[in-house]
């Protein structure tokens, strides 16, 4: 082993140290949430810097694999666990931005939690570390460990407001269904191993090498394995029909927690899915692309149709998240021609959603459970800036030009059309028009209706920064998408 390069897992280490640091600071020195904020912020900042450093190093000396074991001959290193590439580096940067924004926006919830707030922050950092592990894992087992690290922390976060009715129920639901999905995932890994004799994505003994060298006349077991892996990841990104947990969890968990859990896990699951499917199972593109397309179509239809009927804002956002999971799956298909489209969609949707949920924390309170759409009534008069931010986010999610959401849809759909999924593009675009009903409804309530109260929601500095940043990104990337697209074009995984 000897000389271990820690850069490939530097981000995970930084977050882990940060999490422990927050807990230690909380029980020894400071009981003020300000002290934890410094530690957590430092961890996230260091994590971001490490991601940038990874990007630079990969740019100079190419991608590299790390943390393998010695082979039988004692020299060659096989079964690499972690890949350091621009794919993982960009994923890390996006994750850090999202985590940072979510924490800044929902810091009020951490304050409300008292001394347990430190645990909340630590869990978020641990979960983020797990998510990044999913993105960089070079082995299906490693991917599973990342998935579980992220998920277990999320189960606890979902039930953190245990004094409120509904929170524990939704956490329990999330835990049970999530465990089931994890079990399916690991079963899928086992079947893949049974079929190919490998769980590794890279190297001489990888799945891809096996598939390239051996024609499989009866790939049934392998296909079931791929299918179960897909199910496990689709569950995490709340794609239909594996989405039932999302509305309850969004509604039950505190709004401040939702901002992180709804976005981070999507980023991780989508990126992991791209790496596994394209690196591991590219020979079976025709088979899995059809499955992904069907899940995408179903997610878009179910998410859009159900979101229209919601009167609770967080349930609405959860179902709209299901529809967006469908769009993201289209982006996964489109990644064959254009990976930057996928990154663009992922990053801009995550930022818009965090921004929107931060607005919700401001209007309805960071620890609020159910948030009726009615609570936005008359916001256009009470707080024009907040209402304008809502309009920007809703238009972006609906894909109206001038926002990043439009460019994201444009590039993804163009790439999907190029890959031959025109039926999916037509379906997605028509569904996104139906989606206007619920996105516009919030704008209508906020701008076109008068409220009984004159009360102006109090916007603290933290949420203000988070919302401002999210608006700037949403509009800025809507007008100058090349800023991110040119950057993301290089974010290829190790091959």
């Amino acid at each position: 082993m000897g000389n271990i390069a820690f850069l490939p897992i530097g981000l995970e280490v930084a977050l882990l140290v940060g999490a422990i640091g927050v807990l230690m600071v909380a029980v020894t020195m400071g009981r003020s949430s300000r002290d934890w904020a410094v530690v957590a912020g430092a961890a996230i900042g260091v994590g971001f810097v490490i991601s940038v450093r990874q990007w630079v190093v990969v740019g100079e000396s190419g991608t590299q694999l790390a943390f393998g074991t010695k082979g039988a001959d004692g020299l060659a290193v096989a079964n690499q666990m972690v890949a350091m590439d621009k794919f993982g580096a960009l994923g890390g940067m996006i994750l850090m931005v999202v985590v940072g924004l979510a924490l800044i926006g929902s810091w009020q919830m951490v304050k409300d939690l008292g001394s347990r707030g430190a645990e909340f922050v630590a869990l978020i950092l641990l979960s983020a570390a797990g998510m990044h592990m999913m993105i960089v894992s070079a082995n299906l087992i490693m991917l599973f460990i990342g998935l579980e690290t992220a998920s277990i922390a999320l189960y606890v976060i979902a039930g953190f407001l245990r004094n409120r009715r509904g929170s524990d129920e939704s956490a329990m639901k999330y835990f049970l269904m999530g465990s089931f999905a994890s079990a399916l995932f690991i079963y899928g890994v086992a079947l893949v191993f049974a079929a190919t004799g490998s769980t590794s994505l890279y190297g001489s003994t990888s799945i891809g090498q096996f598939l390239a060298g051996n024609a499989m006349p009866n790939p049934g077991i392998l296909l079931i394995g791929i299918g179960l892996i897909l199910v496990g990841l689709a569950f995490k990104m709340s794609a239909a029909p594996f989405h039932q947990w999302a509305p309850d969890v969004y509604q039950g968990a505190g709004t401040g927690a939702v901002a992180f859990m709804s976005t981070g896990v999507k980023v991780a699951a989508v990126a992991a899915m791209v790496r596994v499917l394209y690196i591991g199972f590219f020979q079976f593109y025709d088979d899995w692309s059809m499955a992904v397309a069907l899940i995408a179509a179903l997610s878009i239809l179910v998410g859009t149709a159900t979101a229209i009927a919601q009167s609770d804002l967080k349930r609405m956002l959860a179902y709209s998240g299901v529809a967006h999971a469908g769009f993201l799956l289209i982006a996964v298909l489109a990644a064959r021609v254009s990976l930057d489209a996928m990154w663009f969609y992922l990053a801009t949707y995550a930022v818009s959603l965090v921004g929107m949920l931060t607005v919700v924390t401001v209007v309805a309170g960071a620890s609020a459970g159910p948030v009726s759409i009615e609570s936005f009534r008359g916001l256009g008069k009470r707080s024009p800036m907040l209402a304008a931010a809502i309009a920007v986010f809703m238009f972006s999610m609906a894909g109206i030009p001038g926002t990043s959401g439009f460019v994201a849809k444009l590039v993804v759909f163009t790439a999907a059309d190029l890959s031959g999924f025109r039926w999916l593009v037509v379906l997605a675009l028509v569904a996104s028009v139906a989606g206007l009903f619920f996105y516009l409804r919030i704008i209508v309530v906020a701008f076109f209706e008068d409220s009984d109260t004159e009360e102006t929601p109090l916007t603290l500095t933290g949420p203000r920064i988070a919302i401002g940043f999210a608006v700037a990104v949403t509009v800025g990337l809507g007008l100058w998408p090349t800023l991110l697209l040119d950057f993301a074009r290089e974010a290829l995984p190790h091959l």
Binding site: I400, F413, V430
Partner: protein, 525 residues
């Protein structure tokens, strides 16, 4: 070269920012500053009309690639087809701002919406990149949505959502078609490109052409609106504030008809020849149907809204008749309709501010209490009906003459729309203005100088275009000719020529000369 078009579209953006930055304490400055700023695009547009080279083709072309890998970019240019729509847009915005003096609630947001709207509409008419076109086409929805929803009348929420979703539904098909078009052209162009001029070079199978033709047509048909897709329009027009109605009728609907010419006719000539008659049929059904519905409307604003549907039918008929006269007539009718219907909506807005009712039955005898107002109203009605000497006549006459050669039966039916227009508009005039004034209407004040100042420029243009349309027709002739020649080259279509007793053949440009001289002589009566 100075980027005239970027300047033109940028001015409203700058104006919106300036308006947003005026401090709350100086809110009395909002309207005057906005009016002043809105004159700048008008000046640029005037300069463009003045210096436009009548040889045609795209002028003031700018091309900058914005997204290299998809070849999307700021590619803009103005030709004879779009020139007057740009001018009309720039002309109607200052008027709309003047007509908004009574808006007190959130005036700043209202003016910002107006300028964003102007940006969008101008962009639509100059864009030569399909994605750029789509962006502007959609951006227009946002300010209009807010204008209807915040500053509209009682049923505004319903109307705003209906307007937005209806139009966005069409846009979804437009976007799919644009993407499919670019992907189809990918192999031929060696790259994905959304440049209009590059895409127009690439041939496509007739099946694909048919699909894409209808994909584009749905979006534009909703915007125009054509007969079965028109139901959003009466609600939106009726609920919108005055300026919103004026701009909806004046320029927003033209985005659909303009799109038909710029995209359907040029990109899909084969499908246009094949299926144009069905679109023309829908247009004619719309002309008659909307005219009949307008006749029985109890609400004056709704009546004018339906008259818009009817008039827009003429334009679409003219476009798909594919003769020089009819297409030119269609284009000039776009401008005419913007002026005359704009004037009608302005007038209805003025009377609504005084009485707060739009029911025709609540009025009566206004001619005696408000003579200036009724004079302008009658003038606008005549322009809309198509009285010779006023602009409406030129457009409708050219459309009917031109379409006769391609669709004789449809044209006969469409001509009945002219008669019906006279019926519903003059009947409405009679009910509102003649007879003894009712109690409620006795003390109405006549138009004040500001309102007269709004109407006089429109009236002037109505007469000018009615009497001397030649400069307008000259500027668009070559470009329209090019569109039709293009269709003739790529399909078996040949434009009909006059065939009098099998001997006298008059070529089309000569026929064109006949028309314009004929109209100017009639105008001088």
């Amino acid at each position: 070269m100075f980027p005239v078009l970027a300047f033109l579209v940028g001015l409203p953006v700058v104006a919106a920012i300036v308006i947003a930055l005026i401090p709350k304490s100086r809110s009395e400055l909002l309207l005057p500053v906005a009016f002043g700023l809105s004159l700048l695009p008008l000046a640029v547009a005037g300069y463009m009309v003045w210096t436009f080279n009548t040889a045609g083709g795209f002028q003031w072309v700018e091309s900058t690639i914005w997204l290299q890998q998809l070849r999307i970019g700021w590619t803009v240019g103005v030709d004879g087809i779009s020139l007057f729509l740009v001018a009309l847009t720039a002309f109607l915005f200052p008027i709309s701002i003047l007509a908004s003096a009574n808006i007190s609630d959130r005036l700043r947001g209202y003016l910002v919406s107006l300028f964003v709207l102007e940006t969008g509409v101008l962009g639509v008419f100059i864009a030569l990149d399909l994605v750029l076109f789509f962006v502007f086409f959609e951006i227009v929805l946002i300010p209009m949505f807010f204008m209807i929803g915040i500053w509209g009348s009682s049923n505004r929420r319903y109307a705003a959502i209906k307007f937005f979703v209806y139009t966005a539904f069409g846009s979804a098909f437009l976007l799919v078609s644009i993407i499919a078009l670019a992907v189809n052209a990918g192999p031929a162009l060696q790259t994905i490109s959304f440049q209009w001029n590059e895409l127009a070079q690439v041939p496509m199978t007739s099946t694909l052409q048919t699909w894409l033709f209808f994909g584009f047509a749905i979006a534009f048909a909703i915007k125009v609106p054509l007969f079965p897709l028109h139901t959003w329009l009466p609600d939106a027009h009726t609920e919108a504030p005055t300026a919103g109605s004026v701009l909806l009728a004046g320029v927003l609907l033209k985005m659909g008809t303009y799109g038909f010419i710029r995209f359907n006719l040029i990109l899909f000539p084969e499908a246009t020849v094949k299926y144009g008659k069905w679109i023309a049929l829908l247009a004619v059904i719309g002309i008659v149907y909307a005219a009949l519905v307008a006749t029985v409307q109890p609400d004056i604003k709704r009546l004018v809204a339906y008259s818009s549907v009817s008039h827009l039918g003429f334009i679409v008929l003219g476009i798909f008749a594919l003769t020089l006269t009819s297409v030119q007539g269609g284009i000039i009718q776009m401008v005419n309709h913007g002026l005359s219907t704009g004037a009608l909506f302005l007038l209805i807005g003025m009377i609504y501010e005084r009485t707060h009712t739009r029911k025709i039955a609540d009025y009566g005898g206004l001619a005696s209490t408000m003579p200036i107002f009724s004079g302008f109203f009658l003038f606008a009605v005549f322009a809309s009906v198509g009285l010779p000497g006023l602009n409406g006549f030129i457009g409708e006459f050219m459309v009917l003459i031109g379409s006769w050669q391609t669709f004789p039966v449809l044209t006969v039916v469409a001509a009945s729309g002219v008669v019906l227009a006279a019926v519903y508009l003059l009947w409405a005039y009679e009910r509102v203005f003649t007879g003894p004034p009712g109690k409620a209407n006795k003390d109405l004040e006549d138009l004040n100088p500001r309102e007269i100042a709004i109407l006089v420029p429109i009236a002037f243009l109505i007469v000018l275009l009615g009497v001397y349309p030649k400069p307008v027709l000259d500027r668009m002739e070559n470009d329209v000719n090019a569109v039709i020649s293009r269709i003739e080259q790529s399909t078996s279509y040949e434009r009909p020529t006059f065939d009098l007793e099998g001997q006298l053949r008059i070529s089309v440009p000569a026929e064109q000369g006949n028309n314009s001289s004929g109209e100017s002589s009639e105008g001088s009566e």
